[in-house]
Amino acid sequence: MAAEAIPSSPMLHTVFTKTIRDQRRALMWWGLGFVGTVFMYSAFWPTIRSNAGQFNDYIAKLPEAVRNLIGGDYGTPRGYIQAEMFSLLTPVLLLVYAIGAGARAIAGEEEGGTLDLLLSAPIRRRRVMLDKFWAMVGAAFLLAFVTWAAIVVIGRPYGLTVSMLDLSAAVVNLFLLGAAFGSIALAVGGATGNRGMAIGVTSGLALITFIVKTLASSVPVMKPLRFLSPFYYYADHRPLATGFNAVDIAVLAGISVVALVAALVAFERRDLSA
């Protein structure tokens, strides 16, 4: 008999491990992307530092909204890392990944037609949802950790050093921000089975809340609205300068929890599309 060996990969044991396994190649490329980004900005740092005065003069001339957006001081490693890495680029990258992963989790399988067979196994819908949730969260954590490690390892030879604790605080906020929007995408996808809608709605929400936060920091009338934006909790307490902030962590993690509960309830109740 041409018996095939039993594929004994432990990555085929659960929905969680299988989902991570599906992502292994993509995660490698994303990880390289984060490392490359850190590398590029680290390599610029010595040049920037010697011209810090000019940069700061330039920034001082920018409109207040843009200045708040960059939120850094180019003269110090902390200010530079904040401005170049954490103000826009890494959060956008991580959001793109997490929203895609969240949207794909249920809605991707449903649109691909594989969800019926998966759920014909003796496994509860909520188990599938939880496994998909942890896979998305785990991958977001991995990418955030890679960013942390890259800054620590690559930044040092270029003289780009910050407190490990403060850097950890900034990276934890980055991770939680990604997980929050990933969870929202998971919930929209789980509730509708529509991957495109999950990506669209969640990206739209990210854009709007980002604009609200940015405007709130320069337009006095809008100031109270900043509490509505996840980006406020992500950045406004300046984790790179002040370290961990319990409120930021609680709110950002809370968004994921609320989205997950909504996802579980909606997915449990509805008809799956054929």
Binding site: A2, A3, I6, L12, T14, G113, D116, S120, A121, A274
Partner: protein, 300 residues
């Protein structure tokens, strides 16, 4: 023993689209139950309700005495399922795919997986992306049979299989039946259901038209015959024969429809020199119209 599947007043409506309406049937243990109907009649809707992918608008269905909604995990543990629109994980090999589902079922006898693959002539090491439609269907079949479930729910199981593999599939079903296990299979092909099943439920436009023994159905089976004679035959040569209708005689060619046994027609034909006889399976719509009467509404 209690029935394996019991549907009571099972209704699923989707707004404008037709679902299924007030279905009532039961499937006994050890039975091969055919669920016959044209595409779009509601076969897949019934099956997906049975497995709790969709929920009834009213009525209920129980499997192994368990409610389809509250008992779904236990039902799934004891059931093997082949979907009508099979979609697999393209990047995996057949073996990886089956290992994943085996894990989700807390392990299966891998030797039996190898045996099933061999019987269906399926190479497990190939990536699913590179498999033909028929070979994918085989992966789906192995997946449905590999944990030796008490109940098999198969939605159009032979679509895309070549005739040799179909025959092996028929043997598998016979074997499952011989072991006292139960099969619920849907089809839009009358002959397949006749060959495999003990009883048949016929569904049309969301309603169960009838449930009957395959023997009874066969006794009334309709066939269209084209008989080619060496010389023209009299126009009334096949008139007034039992079970014969729609007779058209055009010189040496005769076209007619027979319900049940062919005996009378063959004997009538034998009076002349026969060159050729061709028999056609009528399509399901024709069977419905003849046996169960047409539907007044125009939705077809």
């Amino acid at each position: 023993m209690a029935d394996v599947i019991v549907a009571e007043g099972l209704t699923k409506s989707y707004g404008k689209q037709r679902g299924v309406i007030d279905l009532a049937f039961s499937v006994a243990p050890g039975e091969v139950f055919g669920y016959l109907g044209p595409n779009g009649a509601g076969k897949t809707t019934t099956i997906r309700t049975l497995l709790d992918f969709i929920r009834p608008t009213s009525g209920r269905v129980t499997v192994f005495g368990l409610d389809s909604r509250t008992g779904s995990v236990d039902i799934h543990r004891r059931t093997g399922y082949l979907p009508g629109e099979l979609a697999l994980y393209e990047k995996m090999t057949g073996a990886e795919y089956l290992a994943y589902f085996a894990s989700l079922r807390d392990g299966v006898d891998w030797a039996y997986v190898g045996e099933l693959a061999e019987r269906l002539d399926l190479r497990l090491g190939m990536r699913i992306r590179s498999l033909s439609h028929g070979n994918r269907q085989k992966v789906g079949l192995v997946q449905a049979f590999m944990h030796r479930p008490e109940l098999l729910v198969l939605d159009e199981p032979t679509s895309g299989l070549d005739p040799l593999v179909q025959r092996e599939f028929h043997r598998l079903v016979a074997q499952v039946r011989g072991e006292g296990r139960t099969v619920f299979l849907s089809s839009h092909v009358m002959t397949e259901v006749e060959r495999l099943c003990d009883r048949v439920g016929i569904i049309r436009e969301g309603r169960l038209v009838t449930v009957e023994d395959v023997g009874d159905l066969k006794a009334r089976a309709m066939r269209t015959l084209d008989i080619h004679f060496a010389r023209p035959v009299p126009a009334d040569a096949f008139a007034n024969l039992p079970g014969v209708q729609d007779v058209e005689v055009q010189g040496e060619l005769v076209h007619l429809t027979v319900a049940g046994h062919l005996d009378a027609v063959v004997k009538a034909a034998a009076r002349y020199e026969v060159v050729d006889i061709t028999s056609h399976e009528p399509n399901l719509e024709e069977i419905f119209l003849t046996f169960y009467g047409g539907d007044e509404d125009d939705g077809g």
